[in-house]
Every structure is written in C-alpha cells, then in structure tokens.
C-alpha cells in the first residue's frame, strides 16, 4: 500500500506503470485519475486545495486499509495533491490491483467515494470570484452503498 500527499504534479501514466510492474501475477488493475475541470461559469483560473496535514495521510491510510480488509486486493496506491492547481492538472489518482476485475473495480470506487467525503481536503475555485466547492449530497449518499 502506498499513500502520497504532495503539492507537486505527478505523471499518472508513469505511476500506473510503476504500480503495475510492482505486482506479480495479478489479473486486473483499475486506476482513477481526477483532473481539474472548469467551473460552471467556465472561467476557472485556478483550483486551490487546502488540507489538514496532520490528519490527511492517516485518514487516507485508514480508508485504504478498509478497502484491503474488504476485498482481495494485491495492492493499493493513492496520490492526492494540495496547493494551487490549474485547468487539466491532475488532482489525484487511485490504483487497485487484484486477481479479479470485480474486486479491483469495487475497491477503486469505494476508495473514491470515501476520499471524496472523508479525506480532509477542501477545494476552492478561483474564477470570476473565488468560491469553496460545496460538498454534494450525492457524494454523501454514495457512501451508503458500502
């Protein structure tokens, strides 16, 4: 299991390849990459991500541990950035490795649902005016399925 919280950009493809080559005889790898997309006004200049340094890695590790307890996973990778990001920049990625695709997919979705609402990050969109991104009820509801 590898958890990284960083301000620097990362190369999702290189991370995926490194994660994959570290496995042996795993059948399925799922990855998710989150990317800065425009705001609804279409005038996004930057996205600022604040986090709670003392808590972040601990919270993500607990979420990843839950995923490993729940599914038969060979490995889990989570990378999440903080700081100032721009349009089309990578925000974060998760990758899961498993013998079977069903476990790899379910665990990746579980990780994303929990990272969305239970990892201490807050996004602020800087466009025409600056605005904190509001949590979505649908993201909170998504946790109910697990």
């Amino acid at each position: 299991m590898e958890i990284r919280v960083q301000s620097q950009p990362f190369d999702a493809g290189a991370e995926l390849n490194q994660f994959t080559s570290a496995q042996s005889s795993v059948g399925a790898i799922v990855s998710f990459s989150g990317i800065v997309r425009n705001n609804s006004a279409g005038d996004l200049r930057a996205m600022e991500i604040e986090h709670y340094p003392a808590m972040t890695e601990k919270a993500i590790t607990a979420i990843a541990q839950q995923a490993q307890d729940r599914w038969d996973l060979a490995d889990v990778l989570v990378i999440h950035r903080f700081g100032l990001l721009h349009l089309d920049d990578p925000i974060m990625m998760v990758a899961t490795a498993a013998r079977h695709r069903v476990a790899a997919f379910a665990a990746a979705e579980f990780l994303m649902d929990y990272l969305k609402s239970r990892a201490p990050f807050w996004k602020k969109e800087h466009g025409g005016h600056a605005e904190w991104v509001a949590a979505q009820q649908s993201d909170e509801d998504a946790l109910q399925r697990w």
Partner: protein, 83 residues
C-alpha cells in the same frame, strides 16, 4: 489548553488557521458554544453547525456531543471535498 484548528471558510471567517484555547469544555459542542460567544467573526463561523464538521485529535467525530477531555487538538471545517 487545547489546539484549535480551522480550515477552508471556517478559517477565513475566523481569520486564523489555528490558536491555543484555554477551555473547560467537555465536548465539541461546548467548545463551539464558547468560541461562538467570543465575537462576530466566531459567531459567523459557527452560525450553522449543521454545515460544520469536527475532528478530535485528527479523528472525524460523528456529532458534536463527542468528548474532548484529554484531547490535544480539535479541528473545525466544512464537509470535505477531496477526490
């Protein structure tokens, strides 16, 4: 003495990322009531507790009746928006 941390718009409304607070509060809710009574900035930050979440020693609490006795750090923030 307890470290109190603020994030996102809670931090902006209060105007501080963190402070040390001398308190006898036994729960998160009691601490909120003390802080909210300080001045307008705190009152604004804590006006709608349903929009707030809290962590005690870096663990998210389910609700504001959570105890803080013996805790070193309490944090207040809006619902998280990671991912």
């Amino acid at each position: 003495m307890i470290d109190v941390l603020y994030f996102a718009w809670v931090r902006e409304r209060i105007g501080l990322p963190s402070e040390r607070v001398d308190t006898q509060a036994q729960t998160v809710g009691e601490l909120v009531a003390e802080l909210a009574a300080r001045d307008d900035r705190y009152a604004a930050a804590f006006a709608d507790v349903t929009a707030l979440r809290a962590a005690v020693d870096q663990e998210l609490v389910d609700d504001f009746s959570a105890p803080i006795t013996g805790a070193r750090e309490v944090a207040f923030f809006p619902p998280m928006t990671g991912g």
